[in-house]
């Protein structure tokens, strides 16, 4: 059975700046953009390992390069971005992870909370490791 008729629809186009009209959309775009911060730090750590593998001189060169004021500012911006990205990410975790204990799913705050806890514990451990070894 074929249904053919002439239909004229009105279609509204979406502007490329669609995301500027609502705070939730701006926040979403920021969350997506700040993944660049994550990439930035990942790259930096890879470069750090690479320079350390080349001995003390390599490490000295690396420190000298990242002491550049422009890089310090870049690092700072990326750090703020990373914090934003992590917070939004952890807040979303309960949506994707539903863990049932017995017959009831764990409340969202427990899932998000355990993510934050893990974050803090790992950070403290790294901080402790660094301060104990210098």
């Amino acid at each position: 059975m074929d249904k053919s008729v002439n239909k004229q629809y009105y279609r509204k186009d979406m502007s490329i700046f669609w995301w500027t009209r609502k705070w939730t959309h701006i926040r979403f775009i920021l969350r997506e953009l700040t993944s660049l911060s994550v990439a930035f730090f990942a790259l930096e750590i890879v470069l750090l390992f690479f320079s350390v593998s080349r001995g003390p001189e390599g490490y000295q060169t690396f420190v000298a390069v990242i002491s550049n004021p422009i890089l310090i500012i870049l690092n700072f911006i990326a750090f703020v971005g990373l914090i934003f990205h992590s917070v939004t990410w952890f807040d979303l975790a309960p949506k994707a992870m539903v863990i049932k204990v017995g017959k009831r799913p764990l409340p969202a705050i427990v899932i998000a909370g355990s993510n934050y806890m893990g974050w803090i514990v790992v950070s403290v451990l790294i901080f402790w490791f660094l301060t104990e070894n210098t």
Binding site: M1, K3, S4, V5, N6
Partner: protein
């Protein structure tokens, strides 16, 4: 553009619970048959979606088919055909289990079995429920299940304007494609009407806007009688403006019905004494029809309140406190807050009796077949009859499964036996098209407003054919409806567009409503007795000697419908007294 002609083996009109169940039944009976499903709305918009309470079927060991049958028959004041009821209660559990197998999220007991709850007028608990959204879940389960059959082809948002009747049998339907204003001819070897009720004949109703009796009118115009149309069920507590139903649970928890003086008026109507705590079978927990009738008496004595949407009384639950209201009747509070801007914790709820269900409908046998070969019907639009003079709560959802399925199987068998169509459909199509262009278009030069005719029909139905009727009131209403029908011939269409013209569909709906209205009035006029939901103040007693029979309303051109009768089928349960009060056990 190809000509708008289509062919299918079975055409189903209406895609609510009964229509979808019928479609699945056809697909299962004979997978080779092509099935057209035409509906004026998308299937999931159908009014089945609004049913809250539940669906009855015997499944627990302490219950029996015999009990279900007796509850149905006594509830229907012995107007039900008992062979149909026996068959209904027997097939009900199987149908309900199939729906469970298709995924309906029935509420469960801890051991994983389906849970049942008590309901008005029942001896045992047998109402299956899916929280307080039973109809919604049933409809969506049926719709989603219907998607798996490739033989089902839907015509969504097509309004059927006429049945195609050739060589003495029904061979399809003509339908207006709402999006384009084009008339299509859908040829079919058999047709099943599943278009639901016609609550919109009345001003105050729980029914959705789409329930305009379209299918009843289609069959009626094709010469098929409408059966038992005088029986219209009221629910005593609906919100006056929207008709949203406030469940009996609000009264079972201890809500009071108060007139304008703040007085619990039910004590004046032989319904017991006012106690602070709710007492089963008394006062606010009396039977539905008695409560509705008491409202009318109060109204006549001038003790109801007047609001912008007519008279009302108050349902007061404030004394229960926010905690009880939130725990026990959260849905009541949600409905009032969300859709009527009233908070029952702080304010009294305005309520009044509202039309809930039409027991009558297209006359069918237990196979869903009508007197017109090739035409079948099921659901609220049909009258088998299992509901008699008053439907038992939670039978309607089960009915649409049992009889939707039966009508589907019958139609499939009928279509399998037919091999050809008649040839004359082209001229019928031309005729309909030209009628349509001259009547339902902005060029018709009409002057009568759709809204005004509708409003006048509403008030005359409420006044003359409402909860209480008399010969005089019914005759007055009939005169009014007759003159409205004359005025309708001159209806004004101001919208000249062919695209999604809802003024045209409103006019089509109104023409159906007017036809249904005249059958309700005429059947009520001829039934000179009081039985179930039909109450005549001039004939207050039930009269089994003269009226233990179904009324049949036949269409007469340019005249009032002709009323004939056929006897009620009695198998095991001779007419007895209808004992009131059991309905109060529900929550």
């Amino acid at each position: 553009m190809s000509l708008p002609f289509h062919e299918c083996d079975v055409l189903i009109i209406g895609a609510g619970g009964a229509g979808l169940r019928a479609a699945i039944a056809v697909a299962e009976t004979n997978p080779k048959l092509s099935i057209g499903v035409v509906s004026k709305v998308y299937p999931m918009r159908s009014h089945t979606v609004s049913a809250e309470g539940g669906a009855a079927a015997v499944i627990k060991d302490d219950d029996s088919l015999e009990h279900h049958a007796y509850d149905t028959i006594s509830g229907g004041d012995w107007m039900s055909d008992q062979d149909a009821v026996e068959l209904f209660v027997k097939e009900a559990p199987k149908e309900m289990i199939r729906l469970e197998h298709w995924g309906c999220p029935w509420s469960r007991e801890d051991n994983g079995k389906v849970a049942v709850r008590p309901f008005g007028g029942m001896k045992n608990k047998r109402t299956w429920f899916a929280a307080d959204k039973t109809g919604f879940h049933m409809l969506h389960t049926l719709f989603q299940t219907s998607l798996k059959y490739s033989s089902v082809f839907r015509f969504d948002e097509y309004f059927v304007t006429d049945l195609i009747v050739e060589e003495g049998r029904c061979q399809g339907a003509l339908a207006l494609e709402i999006a384009t204003g084009t008339i299509h001819a859908i040829k079919a070897k058999s047709v099943v009407i599943c278009t639901g009720g016609a609550g919109k004949v009345f001003p105050f109703t729980t029914n959705a806007a789409i329930k305009t009796g379209d299918g009843m009118a289609l069959a009626y115009r094709a010469g098929v009688p409408l059966k038992d149309m005088e029986f219209v069920q009221y629910h005593p507590t609906g919100l006056p403006f929207t008709g949203i139903l406030i469940t009996e649970a609000a009264r079972a928890e201890g809500g009071h019905l108060l007139n304008k003086d703040g007085y619990r008026y039910l004590q004046d109507y032989d319904l017991g004494k006012p106690e602070p705590k709710p007492v089963l079978r008394s006062m606010e927990l009396g039977p539905r029809d008695r409560l509705s009738q008491a409202f009318v008496k109060e109204q006549e004595s001038g003790r109801t309140l007047q609001g912008p949407y007519g008279d009302f009384v108050h349902l007061d639950v404030r004394h229960l406190g926010a905690k009880t209201i939130n725990n026990k009747i959260p849905f009541v509070r949600e409905l009032c807050l969300k859709y009527e801007n009233i908070d029952p914790v702080k304010e009294m709820i305005p309520v009044r009796p509202v039309v809930h269900y039409m027991m009558g409908g297209i006359d069918t046998d237990i196979e869903g077949a009508t007197s017109l070969p090739g035409l079948f019907a099921a659901g609220e639009c049909a009258c088998v009859s299992i509901n008699g003079a008053n439907r038992l709560g939670s039978n309607s959802l089960t009915e649409l499964l049992v009889f939707g399925s039966r009508a589907g199987r019958s139609a499939a068998t009928f279509s399998t036996r037919q091999d050809t169509f008649s040839t004359g459909i082209g001229s019928l199509f031309e005729k309909e098209n030209s009628k349509f262009l001259s009547k339902y278009s902005a060029d018709n030069n009409g002057s009568e407003s759709i809204a005004e005719i509708r409003n006048e029909m509403h008030s005359t139905m409420e006044e003359g054919a409402g909860i209480y009727r008399t010969e005089a009131s019914l005759k007055k209403s009939m005169d009014a409806v007759k003159s409205l029908k004359v005025r309708f011939e001159n209806v004004k269409i101001s919208d000249s567009s062919k695209t999604f013209n809802t003024e045209v569909t409103s006019a089509l709906e109104l023409s159906c409503l007017l036809d249904v209205a005249e059958t309700v009035i005429q059947s009520a006029l001829h039934r000179a007795e009081s039985r179930g939901s039909h109450q005549r103040t001039d004939f207050p007693e039930r009269n089994d000697k003269d009226f233990l029979s179904h009324s049949l309303a036949y269409k007469k051109e340019d005249n009032v419908p002709e009323i004939k009768y056929k006897p009620v089928i009695i198998t095991k349960w001779p007419p007895g007294e209808r004992v009131y009060g059991r309905e109060t056990k529900q929550s």
